[in-house]
């Protein structure tokens, strides 16, 4: 296991190590391996050096830069910051420069973090492989012929490749947890409302949540501590006090009840994924947890529910890209009107998956179909949430695979629906608004390559302390 980030930042705060030297070391590693990985849309080498120098100057003057002093972070390119561009990996926003920082960026800056660059994603976070980026595919550091997962594939690959200490992603239906699973790092989606979405480019507003990728659960907790808490700029942040978790996360929980849904032991899981789950169950027994057999019969229907709700919200959110205030603007032929400007700009600016989801969302919200699709999906959403509520009366965390399969070959998933079906274990977390974390649970051997397998833990809303402490227990037991 790598050195804990809290110790590294401690060394920066005490002047034992400079933030600048840490940035230079990461830039050297990026120069060596980024050409084959393509984790980044844009590197901010000079800005990162300047931020690091500012941190070192604070230390030299006897002041404390904060708990993340000198932590080198990569940021998913759908989170706005003043440095560079925020493209969402879309031609639509290829030259967009934000006039403001997202709240999470503000908070990380105040905590002493340094930002090394913006990471690749599926366009507007729509996808599970980062193949839908307008700027090229991110490769899996464990096997560069395979995908890094998505949509936050660049952020997962950046951590797995050793390009940064930690990174930020966003998770609408698994977009943090699934790439973390496929790249073998930790990916944590907090409870909906824990972390401000102000400055996160909106996809599915009732589902989106920002969270960290890290090398360990403890590192993820340290970054999460800086992110969490109510924000006046996001009225959907919850009024629930956040107790810092980094110092507590390594303390084991006595009497932990681990629920294992029958539906998560599906025959559709790849053999190595099924084995990793059984190994984790055995490990949990060995560390004294009680294994509780539970049922979540609405697991499979989550995909259908999600692929109504998320596109519906996306079709509304992405209406703002009209070619007028910002973003791509089509050239019009003489005599073409405003309507043509909208339609041509959007058709030229958005890639195929984004257009597909906008049309799907528009359809399910349209007159005559709203009740049959959208309203019904919202009703099923409540049933899914209630199913989790009942499950959490019997257990503290729910254990299962993050993805039914390890990283698949680039170009290997031919039709959109097959890709959607791989989200089966992650979408319901967002539908219910509960937190989830993916940790490494072992490796699959594929033609001599070791492909990471992710294990997911979920807990009830706002039970992040239980979730992260349990995740740390599994992390230790499976190491």
């Amino acid at each position: 296991m790598s050195r804990p980030l809290v110790e590294i930042c401690g060394d920066v705060r005490s002047g034992k190590v400079t933030a600048r030297s840490r940035v230079e070391a990461y830039l050297a590693e990026i120069a060596r391996r980024e050409p084959e990985i393509h984790a980044f849309n844009e590197l901010h080498a000079d800005a990162a050096r300047a931020q690091a120098d500012a941190v070192d100057a604070l230390v030299a003057s006897g002041r404390d830069p904060g708990p993340l002093a000198g932590a080198v972070l990569a940021i998913k390119d759908n989170i706005v910051m003043r440095e560079g561009r925020t493209t969402c990996s879309s031609k639509m926003l290829a030259d967009y420069r934000s006039p403001f920082d997202a709240t999470v960026i503000d908070r990380l800056r105040s905590a002493g973090a340094v930002f090394i660059g913006k990471t690749n994603l599926d366009e507007f976070a729509m996808g599970s492989s980062t193949e839908n980026s307008a700027f090229g595919v991110t490769k899996n550091p464990h096997d560069t012929t395979r995908v890094a997962g998505g949509s936050s594939g660049g952020s997962a690959a950046a951590v797995a490749a050793g390009f940064c200490d930690a990174s930020l992603g966003s998770d609408t239906g698994g977009s943090i947890r699934q790439p973390a699973a496929l790249c073998g790092c930790v990916g944590f989606k907090p409870t909906y409302g824990r972390v401000s979405r102000y400055g996160l480019v909106a996809f599915g507003s009732s589902l989106d949540q920002i969270g960290p990728f890290a090398r360990s659960v403890a590192d993820a907790a340290l970054v999460y501590d800086a992110l969490a808490g109510r924000d006046a700029s996001d009225s959907t942040t919850a009024d629930v006090a956040h107790e810092p978790l980094a110092a507590k996360v390594s303390a084991p929980l006595a009497g932990l009840r681990v629920g294992v849904p029958r539906e998560y032991r599906s025959g559709a899981n790849a053999p190595a994924v099924a084995e990793a789950l059984e190994r984790a169950i055995a490990a949990a027994r060995a560390f004294g947890a009680e294994i509780v057999d539970i049922e979540l019969p609405l697991t499979d229907i989550g995909i259908s529910t999600y692929y109504v709700i998320a596109p519906a919200e996306a079709s509304s959110n992405l209406a703002r890209y009209d070619g007028i205030r910002y973003g791509h603007r089509a050239k019009l032929a003489p005599g073409e009107d405003l309507e043509a400007l909208y339609s041509k700009s959007r058709a030229e600016g958005f890639g195929p998956e984004v257009q597909r989801r906008i049309m799907l969302g528009t359809y399910v919200l349209s007159s005559g179909y709203y009740d049959a699709y959208y309203k019904r999906a919202l009703q099923v959403r409540r049933l899914i949430k209630e199913e989790f509520d009942r499950a959490f009366e019997r257990c503290d965390v729910i254990l299962g695979p993050t993805s039914p399969i390890p990283a698949f070959p680039i170009g290997g998933m031919k039709d959109p629906l097959s890709m959607y079906l791989c989200d089966v274990y992650t979408v319901n977390t967002n539908i219910a608004g509960i937190p989830g974390i993916s940790i490494n649970g072992g490796f699959a051997d594929e033609g001599g390559r070791r492909l990471p397998i992710g294990l997911q833990l979920q807990s009830k809303a706002f039970a992040e302390e239980t979730l992260l402490r349990a995740a740390a227990m599994f992390e230790r037991a499976l190491a």
């Binding site: 079709s315 007028i324 528009t362 699709y373 099923v380």
Partner: protein, 102 residues
């Protein structure tokens, strides 16, 4: 729901979505959306009578800020990303037709 999507449906959805869709792509889009909607049709089998729709995971009521003016973002910053600007305004194609007058 079982109604199959027609090419005319796809053209209508594209128009509502403000996406110009060439005729040559209508068939492919119809096939893809039909496959996805075919899967989503599973929702019809879930008993939902009497279940209140859940649009949002949190029960939050509206929160009001104190009614105090804050510094607005400078107009120049906002216009910097605009593809076409005239003076301090966003430029758009002519909205009213010939003879519409204004």
């Amino acid at each position: 729901m079982a109604d199959a999507l027609t090419d005319a449906d796809i053209k209508k959805i594209a128009k509502l979505s403000r996406l110009s869709l060439p005729d040559s792509q209508v068939g492919a889009v119809r096939t893809q959306l039909s496959t996805i909607l075919g899967h989503i049709a599973q929702l019809q089998a879930v008993p939902v009578a009497g279940v209140e729709p859940m649009a949002h995971p949190l029960r939050i009521v509206n929160r009001l800020d104190a009614d105090e003016p804050k510094a607005p973002m400078p107009v120049a910053d906002l216009l910097r990303n605009a593809p076409a600007v005239e003076d301090r305004y966003l430029a758009v194609p002519k909205v009213l037709g010939d003879g519409g007058g204004a």
